[in-house]
Subunit: 143 residues, 2 copies
DNA sequence: ATGATTGCAAAGAATTTGCAGCTCT
DNA sequence: AGAGCTGCAAATTCTTTGCAATCAT
C-alpha cells in the first residue's frame, strides 16, 4: 500500500515531472491539516514551515494534485474553494452548517444507487456527482 | 398570481429599493433567455437591447435577484457561474453532460426524502441542498 | 546536461466599489 | 426633495503566467 507521497511521486514520474522539496512540503502540510483546506489556508501553513515558498507554487501544486486525482475541490457555498484528500477514500458527500461552517461527511447507499439509476434513465453514463446538504446544526440551533 | 416583474418589484419595495428601467430590462432579458445564463451572457444580451447599460448594473441586479430568491446560482463545473429562475419552480437538480454541456433538470422523491432524513440523523435542520450529476449523454457516447 | 521548477512580479479574469450626476417615489 | 441608481473607471480578489535563476534526474 503506497502512501500519499509515493502516489504523488508516481504521478509526477508518469508525467515526466519532478519531485521537489516544495511539492513534498506542500503535500505534507496539506495532509497534516487534513480536513478541508483552501489554497489560502494551505499557503499560510506552508509558509510557517518554509517562508521562502511562493503562493504560485502552492497553486501549481494544488493543480497537480487535483489532476492526479489525489485531492478534490469542494464547494461549501461560502465563496471559497477548498480541497480534500480523495484518493483511496470511499466516496462521500457533505452536510454543512450555514451558521458555523461545520461540515460532516455523509454517505447514503439509497441515494447513491438512485443517482446511478436516474442518470441511466436519461441515457447518461454517470461519471461523478456532487451533493451538498446545507442546514443548521444542532449546536447552532440550541443557542 | 404575480408575474416575475411584479415579484421583483415587491422585493425591491420591501427593501426600499427602486424599480428602474435597467432592472426591468435585465430581468426581462434574463427571462427571455431562460435556460441557464452566466452574468457574461446576460450582459451581452442586455447590451443588445440597451447598449448604455453597464456591466456593473448587471452584476448588481443579479445579486438582488439572487437575494430575493427569484433566481439561483448553478455550478455546472465548467468554471462559469450560471443562474436559473427559481421562484415558483418545483425544486430540481441537474444532470450535466461533461462533453457537450447539455443539462437536464431532474427530480427524485426517493433522494429528496433521504436527504431530509440524513440531515436529521445528524441533528441538522435541512435548509437546502445542491446535487449535480455529471456524465456523458447518449448523443455524445454514440459519436 | 537539460528540461522542469521556483519565486517574484506582472498579468488576467471575474466581480465589487467609489463617485458625481441622474432618476424614481 | 432626497434616498437610491447608474455608468464609468479604479480597485479587489483569486488565480495564472512570463522570466531568469536554480534544481532534479
Amino acid at each position: 500500500m503506497k502512501n500519499p507521497q509515493e502516489l504523488f511521486a508516481d504521478y509526477l514520474a508518469d508525467k515526466n515531472l519532478k519531485v521537489t522539496p516544495q511539492r513534498r512540503l506542500i503535500l505534507d502540510t496539506f495532509l497534516k491539516q487534513d480536513g478541508h483546506l483552501s489554497s489560502e489556508e494551505l499557503y499560510a501553513n506552508v509558509k510557517k514551515r518554509d517562508s521562502s515558498i511562493g503562493q504560485a507554487t502552492v497553486y501549481r501544486t494544488l493543480k497537480l494534485l487535483n489532476e492526479s486525482g489525489l485531492i478534490e475541490p469542494l464547494d461549501f457555498a461560502d465563496g471559497v474553494v477548498r480541497y480534500e484528500w480523495s484518493y483511496g477514500q470511499t466516496h462521500h458527500d457533505h452536510l454543512i452548517c450555514d451558521k458555523c461552517g461545520k461540515n460532516i461527511e455523509i454517505l447514503d447507499e439509497t441515494i447513491e444507487s438512485r443517482q446511478e439509476q436516474l442518470a441511466e434513465e436519461h441515457g447518461f453514463k454517470l461519471l461523478r456527482h456532487k451533493m451538498y446538504l446545507y442546514g443548521i446544526c444542532s449546536d447552532c440551533r440550541s443557542k
